[in-house]
Amino acid sequence: MISLGPIIFGLMFGVIIGSQIKLNVNDTHFTIGSFILILIAGIVIAWQAGNFPFYIDLPLSTAFLSALIGIFVGKLIFARSK
């Protein structure tokens, strides 16, 4: 059985924080490729961290991964440029 709690609240937390990311404020350019690389690194970290005890639905940390996805979703949908 999939535990929905960490997925739902990880996404919500991620969207709350990701909505404040602004990329056009400094001279360092982060392209879409940078974020794909961060996502791949995040999947590896989630897999290596493993899920919480008693959660036997997936072999990777659903809270970590949903937070990462939430940050990207929040950045794409809600983030406003300065």
Partner: protein, 158 residues
Amino acid sequence: MSQNSIILKLISLPISIILICLGIMTVLGGHITPGGGFQGGAMIASGIILSVLVYGIGNSPLEFSHLYVEIFESVGALGFVIFGLIGLFVGGFFLYNVGTDILGIVPQTIQTILHYPDVTNAGIIPYLNIFVGLKVFVGLSAIIFAFAGFKKIVEEDE
């Protein structure tokens, strides 16, 4: 206050994002693993602090407005108190775990609504962790924004 190294500027935003995700993971696992709201909130704030220290207060990709800080600080505190009052009015004790209901005094509908959706029988403990995490991360971030802002004002005066 910002750093001029391009390597730092390239690596600190990805590390900040990973730190924030680790903090959220710590908050959400507070009822079954070591950690919880305060520790997770401090980890999230450390990601924000890293970003502010490297990019500077005006140029940081992760920077919160006064309204944002105000809203989520209030939501964190109010949520905790509201869950405590629900326990007081429904179960008879402040912060009574109405999601688990050990004493068997809470109606089944309230118990079902306030039960955290996972395999453990944690009740409202994860919700309290989430509210504390929200408050701590916004509060610690506000402190570092204030310090960085004061330092910027002092540097501009000199």
